[in-house]
């Protein structure tokens, strides 16, 4: 089956500065695809090229088999690129009415439906200028959902949200994928966010794609366990027996890593260590930080 979205050797140069350098990615139908990279990596520029806002300097984009910016493709896509694009002097409902009219006829019931979906129905008739950032973000998602798209593109959707807002946004995104069956492309600079929401993804740094695949695979070889135990030498030996490598990062503290995720199950480790007479003071499973993943990917 043809991918919903594909880029081929996509490049963008502003004067002499290369912002996106030969990025090729592929998003399949039903994917929740994480587009991961630090700030300034070229994520937003890539998304702009997907939506036809920016012209590529080279390479090409295929959106539902059409080139970037094609009307037939844009009719199937809902997107938020960078901050929510809303008219502050209009109410939430008026914003939706106007944006809906750009795509085609939209019955009023559909407006209520999407407002309900993002939990904004009660505030729909307030002017957008008094909305909080989280409400603007949700209204922008409602606008993206209006034309019943097949693909949703969200650029850093949790940026600037408070913890409750972040949680609500993640729940909403998961719901869009699970309940509405939408394909979602989500850009983020937070690995934990992508890990929690996405099944596939790509890592981009300095405009270049560093990795693409299953998110679980990206993390699998990079998980580690933080272990404080006595005696240390005995603990290191037991980890070795389990096929895991333990390194002492600071006195009394081990970081245990393994290519085999089974060897890093805290319950198994504790059982084996205790059985061998090792006292366990502290044990915790840890995910790598985005920085560590980048360093590892760039080094590779």
């Amino acid at each position: 089956m043809a991918p919903v979205l594909a880029t081929h050797d996509l490049r963008k140069q502003y004067k002499r500065r290369t912002v996106v350098d030969g990025v090729s990615i592929s998003v399949e139908r039903g994917d929740v695809y994480g587009f991961l990279g630090p700030n300034g990596a070229g994520k937003s520029t890539t998304l702009r090229m997907l939506m036809g806002l920016v012209r590529p300097s080279g390479g090409r984009v295929e959106l539902f088999g059409y080139p970037a910016g094609d009307r037939r493709a844009l009719a199937k896509v809902g997107a938020i690129v960078e901050s929510p694009s809303l008219y502050s002097y209009l109410t939430g409902r008026e914003n939706l009415r106007m944006l809906a009219a750009l795509t085609g006829p939209c019955p009023p019931a559909r407006l209520d439906e999407v407002l309900e979906r993002v939990d904004l129905r009660d505030r729909a008739d307030d002017p957008v200028q008094i909305y909080s950032h989280g409400m603007k973000q949700r209204l922008a998602i409602a606008a993206a959902l209006l034309p019943r798209p097949e693909l949703i593109i969200l650029d850093e959707p949790t940026n600037g949200l408070d913890p409750m807002g972040i949680r609500a946004m993640r729940t909403l995104i998961r719901g869009l994928a699970a309940d509405d069956g939408l394909t979602i492309v989500l850009s983020s600079h937070l690995l934990a966010e992508v890990e929690q929401v996405c099944n596939r993804g790509a890592v981009i740094a300095a405009g270049k794609k560093r990795w693409e695949g299953e998110v679980a695979a990206l993390l699998a070889g990079r998980r580690r366990v933080r272990l404080r135990a006595r005696p240390l030498e005995r603990a290191i030996a037991i980890c070795g027996e389990l096929g895991a490598a333990a390194t002492e990062l600071e006195p009394g503290l081990l970081h245990v890593t393994s290519a085999d995720p089974a060897a890093l199950q805290p319950a198994l480790l504790v059982a084996r260590l205790v059985a061998a007479g090792v006292e366990v003071d502290e044990i915790a499973a840890e995910s790598p930080t985005l920085e560590e993943v980048f360093v590892a990917l760039v080094a590779a």
Partner: protein, 288 residues
Amino acid sequence: MTVLRLLRWELWKLSRRPSSYVGFVLCLVFSACVLGGFGYTQYQGKNIQGLKLDPSQYLNGPFFANFVLNIGFFALLPLVAATIAGSQLAGESKDGTLRALLMRPPPRWAVYVAKALASLIWLELMVVFLVGLALLIGHVAYGGGSLLIYVWEYKDAGVWIVPAGEWPGLLALACVGAGAALALIVACALFISACTDNPVVAHVGTLGAFFISSVLQRLPEPLMTPGFKDALPTSHMNFWHEVYRWYYPGGSTVDHHRLGIDVAWSGGLTMALFGLGLIVFVRRDVTT
């Protein structure tokens, strides 16, 4: 259909945006200032540009409205036109809302055309409002009657009177003509607006070009050759004044040759600027 649908929403947005009404407020202030000026300048005496006339013969509602339109055409309406059109693309680009428009199916050219048409319609509304308001103020202050025509460009023809039943048609035509002439300002502002993300650049750039051209146009001949003056855009924006000549007492004295040249110059430049703006807008990267 797409353009008409977009035009409808562009007009709706203009009608909902508070800043769209600044121009209407300026029209009110401008008319009030002119009224104040009438009370304290030469119009209060018995002299209009050296012509001995009794103020009661000409100082009335229609005269006031026509005067406000003629002065407003150079002093106020270019500012309003540059503000409306200059904000259309650069303003939305600065606010980030241009992205929302361009990420949806309507093509960029349709968005541009709809914004250009909406600017022209809103400007024409403003012209009609200015004249209507001046007519009202003039009627309250000075009463009604016939319209005395005195156009600086045709000062050699002196003054003439348009009867009470005929001047509404003349003022209506003058409003349409003035609006059409100001399309050049709209086109210039829209072109600059398509090139930048900052509406102030479009406003200042357009007004700067207009006022520089106006000043150069008025420099005496030893300083400015007639050929150079002819090439200035503002030299051809007065074509709408020909409508006054249709009402000349001895029959129309419209200079068709001059009218043709002015309309061709002004219209050609307007279309060229609209076209350039369209090309820039369709090809540009939206990075805000």
